[in-house]
Each structure stands twice: as C-alpha cells, then as structure tokens.
C-alpha cells in the first residue's frame, strides 16, 4: 500500500472549465504557480519558469503531461530542481459540485523512490531497531 501519497481537496465557486484553464494555460499557471513555457498538451514536456538569482530564466518545475481529459482529469510527471531529476506523479481530478468544482490533487511517487527501504525493512528485522532510533532522532531534530 502506498501511504506516501499527498492528497488535497478543495472547492471553487467556478466551473471546471475555469479551474482547468488555471492548471493548463501557460499564463494562468503564472498567476498562482509559475508561468509555463507553453500551454500544457498531452504527451508533451512542460516546464514552469522562474528566474535564477542573476535574473536569467530558470526551470523551477518540469515533467511530461501524461494524460489530459478536459475538464476532468490531468496527470503529469513532476519534479523540481532539488530532486535532481527524480520524477514524481501529480494527478488532478476535477468534479462538478453544485455550481462549483471539487478539485483533488494527488502527489505520488515518493514510495517508489523510497521503495528499496520498505523492502529492506521487510528483509531485515534489525531495521526495527534502526527505525526506532531514526524516529527518536527525527523527533529530536
């Protein structure tokens, strides 16, 4: 089971089409995140652009648009600079809720990156002790 997925849900007093535009239009993305290098298209790479310290353009987040079902579902691979190219998956679901929209974000792929550790734990009982001390250290940090 993947207990390392981040899930967020929120409501908008706006149609799904409007919310969809804010997730996929290069300029509208810039009003709440970073502007994209181009509008998001299924199967295409995307990059959200910011500025480096010297003012030059810099990719802040990037990946590939895996699936697009306007205005209900968007799946994209997603990484940020500090992840050094390790890809995670972001899934957006848009459902009609009354006159508005219920938006659910799922960010997964952490478990995959950390999967070896789950396996290691299963293989070695000694890990119980390691993790007890890990938890202690983390809570002390």
């Amino acid at each position: 089971m993947d207990n390392q997925t981040i899930t967020k849900t929120l409501f908008f007093n706006a149609s799904r089409e409007v919310v969809w535009a804010f997730l996929t239009d290069k300029n509208k993305l810039g009003t709440w995140f970073h502007p994209a290098d181009r509008n998001l298209r299924e199967g295409q790479d995307y990059a959200l652009m910011g500025k480096a310290d010297d003012g030059s353009p810099k990719k802040m987040c990037w990946g590939t648009v895996i699936q697009m079902e306007p205005p209900s579902k968007l799946v994209q691979s997603f990484t940020v600079g500090p992840l050094s190219g390790a890809m995670t998956t972001v899934t957006w679901n848009l459902e009609q809720a009354g006159d508005g929209t219920r938006l659910t974000l799922e960010h997964s792929g952490f478990a995959e990156i950390a999967a070896p550790f789950g396996l290691l734990m299963a293989l070695d009982k000694g890990w119980d002790a390691h993790f007890a001390s890990l938890r202690t250290r983390v809570s002390e940090a």
Binding site: N13, T31, P82, S84, H107, F110, I113, P116, L120, L123
Partner: protein
C-alpha cells in the same frame, strides 16, 4: 538566498545543508543499480570487490556508484587495511520523508494561491 525558489515554499524552509543532503539522497536513490547496491548492503557490510561480484559492471563503475551513495549519506565507508568497507546508513532515509512533509506544505501554499487566482478571475468576469 532563496528569493525565487522561496516562492515555492520548498527551499526556504530548509537550511542549505539540509537541501544538499536531500539532493544527494534523491540523486543516489534515482538509479536502479544504486538501489540494488543498497539491497546488498542491507544484508551485510561489503568491500568494493564484494559489491562488484553481484553486478556485471566494472569495479570502477561500482566505485562511482558507491561514491554517490556516500555523498547522499546513505552509506558510510571505512578503511580496513587496504580495503574500504561499505556500510548502510539507514538515517539517510530521514531526508526522503522530509521531502514528503515539504511537498505537503508546498501544495497547501500553492493551492491557496490557486484559489485566490480563480476567485479574482471570477470576480472580474461576473461583474
């Protein structure tokens, strides 16, 4: 300074040293060979030669992978005579779970901005 990345709420919450450690851990984990090396080291400590026996790549290539794992603080290396003993460091894991926490907060902040942006848009369009 993290003026621009700080807007993401990702980098500014971490001290520079934490960011470096985390980068290293993710870089180390991104590669299947390095994950396999970690699996072998979970059984016992190994020399470079012993690790190499499990793979069809050169000793030099294994050594490179071990260096990256060491930089990611997922293993430690101790000299024993002429040998270098590689030891798994489970505390390196901390940085991975940290990332989940950071992304959790990251999305809270981004989604709040998204909500504001959509509200502004609706206000302008509806009157």
């Amino acid at each position: 300074m993290f003026h621009e990345t700080g807007r993401d709420g990702l980098t500014d919450m971490m001290t520079p040293s934490t960011v470096e450690e985390t980068q290293g851990a993710f870089r180390a984990l991104a590669d299947p060979t390095r994950r396999a090396i970690l699996m072998h080291l979970s059984a016992r400590d190994m020399t470079i030669g012993e690790v190499t026996e499990h793979f069809s790549i050169t000793r030099a290539a294994v050594k490179k992978h071990l260096t990256i794992l060491e930089e990611g603080q997922l293993i430690s290396v101790q000299a024993s005579g002429r040998e270098r003993i590689n030891h798994l460091e489970p505390l390196g894991l901390k940085s991975v779970s940290d990332w989940i926490n950071h992304f959790n907060q990251f999305w809270d902040e981004r989604l709040l901005d998204l909500q504001r942006a959509v509200e502004d848009h609706e206000r302008i369009n509806n009157g």
